[in-house]
Symmetry: C2
Subunit: 415 residues, 2 copies
């Protein structure tokens, strides 16, 4: 395997091409480009769900089961497809791997092998043309637009999935995906509600179809909302964002800025108070021994990113402040010229730190009073200013640059 046969060079700048600027196609071409299976599923299931909601009433038991199964299949994706197999963020014992593969298929989002392949390409080619769900093609494209169209395998960046190809369980799920997904997506939740408390229709419409639609859109938001809404506390070179709102909607995958920086960390929520039920689940599974080898990046590394972002903001803030004329742009003046200006033209000039300051407009407002600042006029007042008379505050030192009109060119005159 060689990564070079894929791409000459990953574009460094995000390909910022909104849908409208891409070559337009005829209606016929457009229809041909549609992936009808995905399209049918993504449009058909919500219609079935709405029909069910209008005709079948929801019982308490079915509601609870729907809620539980929503989390089981959703976390099959987040704890299984995503953190375990795409990122190998931890290891799992056989029963857990089986459960994650089976319940993950119940979310009907493709086989784990296919899902991870695209997801690894997403990380590797983030925000570029080769990113299968690049956020730069718009919110809806990254949400599920990319799924409704046929994938162009030449365009999507390649990712290495040798480890998955070598895993018999992954290959088994991949080969039997349609059967497993049909059973776990529709039949199994119906059977539970039907045999359990006789609610066959509710089981099908709510725990089956409605739950499926909800889980799908929850996880799709990791590709859309998580690249649009929130902050960038670790790195703002790319689109991923940290957001509590996204976290609540996605089983904890909303700290996506963190995740793209530290993809093999089993956590998405680094901070204790952040919402990441997938992390909590993995913690519990680790406690009972089903998960192990949980990977984390060290605090030290995580702090680095936060620090650098703070430094960046502070530097921007510094840029927004006026710091006077730059030293190199100031004209230079000899001591004789300075003396002349003061004595002949009665200019109110002071030298502090080899800068000539014109304090005419300031002297009446001098917080220390006119008589003190007057003492410095016509002189090098550096010592007076820095302690001999008064050790001025930071604020006073900052103020100086406002009044600079020149630098003194020859040796300092002693005061």
């Amino acid at each position: 395997f060689s990564p070079f046969d894929v791409a000459p060079l990953v574009p460094k700048q995000p390909v910022d091409a909104p849908a409208s600027t891409r070559p337009s196609r005829t209606v016929k071409e457009f229809l041909k480009a549609i992936n009808w299976l995905h399209f049918g599923l993504l449009i058909g299931t919500p219609i079935i769900a709405i029909y069910g909601m209008l005709t079948v009433s929801l019982t308490w038991k079915t509601f609870v089961w729907t809620f539980i199964y929503y989390h089981m299949t959703g976390m099959g994706i987040t704890a299984g497809y995503h953190r375990l197999w795409s990122h190998r963020a931890y290891s799992a014992k056989a029963p857990l791997r089986a459960a994650l593969l089976i319940f993950g298929a119940g979310a009907v989002e493709g086989s784990c092998r296919w899902w991870c392949r695209d997801h690894r390409a997403h990380h590797r080619y983030i925000d570029t043309e080769k990113d299968p769900y690049s956020a730069h093609y718009g919110f809806w494209w990254s949400h599920f637009g990319w799924l409704m169209m046929k994938q162009d395998p030449k365009k999507i960046g390649r990712a290495n999935i040798d480890d998955l190809n070598a895993d018999p369980w992954i290959m088994w799920q991949h080969k039997n995906y349609l059967k497993i997904a049909t059973f776990m997506g529709f039949i199994f939740p119906t059977l539970v509600a039907g045999f359990g408390w006789g609610d066959w229709a509710g089981g099908y419409f709510y725990s089956g179809v409605l739950r499926l639609v909800t889980v799908q859109h929850s996880t799709f938001m990791v590709n859309s909302l998580a690249h649009y809404l929130g902050d960038t506390p670790y790195d703002d070179n790319h689109t991923p964002k940290d957001s509590f709102v996204t976290a609540v909607l996605t089983f904890g995958e909303g700290y996506h800025n963190f995740h793209h920086e530290f993809p093999s960390d089993y956590r998405n929520a680094y901070k204790i108070y952040q919402y990441d039920p997938t992390k909590w689940l993995i913690n519990i599974l680790s406690y009972v021994g089903l998960a192990y080898n949980l990977k984390t990046f060290s605090d030290n590394e995580i702090q680095k990113g936060m620090l650098q972002m703070h430094e960046k903001h502070i530097a921007q803030k510094r840029e927004s402040i006026y710091w006077g004329i730059k030293k190199e742009d100031l004209p230079s003046m000899t001591m004789e010229e300075f003396d002349q200006l003061v004595t002949k033209q009665n200019r109110k000039l002071i030298i502090i730190n080899d800068n000539v300051l014109d304090v005419e407009t300031f002297m009446n407002d001098h917080p220390g009073g006119l008589s003190y600042i007057n003492m410095g006029i016509g002189k090098d007042a550096t010592k007076m200013f820095t302690g001999e008379v008064y050790g001025h505050s930071n604020a006073a030192k900052n103020l100086l640059c406002q009044f600079s009109i020149a630098t003194i060119s020859n040796e300092k005159k002693d005061n």
Copy 2:
């Protein structure tokens, strides 16, 4: 007037001498050093106030009058003595100046001239021996200990009060201070309550004495609490602090870190949501034309201080993070040595940015997978790492320094 006859040099470092280390005195010396007038007032008035509270019941009208007169005399100090005369932070029309001098005297904290002299010395010699109420001598000393002892005029730093000496109103108040203070401190509030609603005793004990004690301790806190409690958002070289609690207790003088940086700003609270009733009063007085020429420092200057404090905190944070072995402390290695180590000793070495990294411990945890990082071993993988294979995140770049074991001494080998 020359400031040089006062002090050779203002000590740059705060004189950090707790009371216990100062030369101890005999009881006799101690008693001789007490300022008995101040001592009597400061101890006597609270006793009288407590006696009054135990014997006279407080009526609603007297309570309201006490509350109002508390603010009138308190703000006589803060808006008058402090912001107007000590710092010339604004100008005031005659009726306002008269009112401030008269009500200010009702706080019984000395004449305005005396008060400003000490206060200017406090600013100029902040935290040093020459500061009349240096916070470095302890909380109680700066609160009122300094008042109970005789002031050593040789020790207290000098401040220029030429402007006050030239002001006939200030001199009038100074000369007639005892009379004005007695009348405004005790008699006037009693007369108002007595003639107003017949509550002579309540007027004396509550609006007179208790109010006086409260105003005094409120304003004393500007010297004690304001130098102890809170944050230093503008400058942390000295003791002044910003605190909402202090602000509430001191008519808004609690943003004392701001105030020592920008003493001639008529505001203490820079931010709109901060509590500064003295500022609000000055704003109203300016609106009705009694105050004018309100001085402020520009946003630009204030932002500078905040920025610099942020930069300082960020720099401290940077120090607390481990950034690997410093480049200058790394040994250097030739390309031949590198090749040898890799081929002969099977060391897992990679060159990135002229650094030799030992990735043995990391390669199995490499978030991009073992096979990718393996491609770089024994090579200069700079290009692979920065885009040819994958443009690594900030976090990955930060991680590199952990693995550096040497620098490469000769020209880069092409990959």
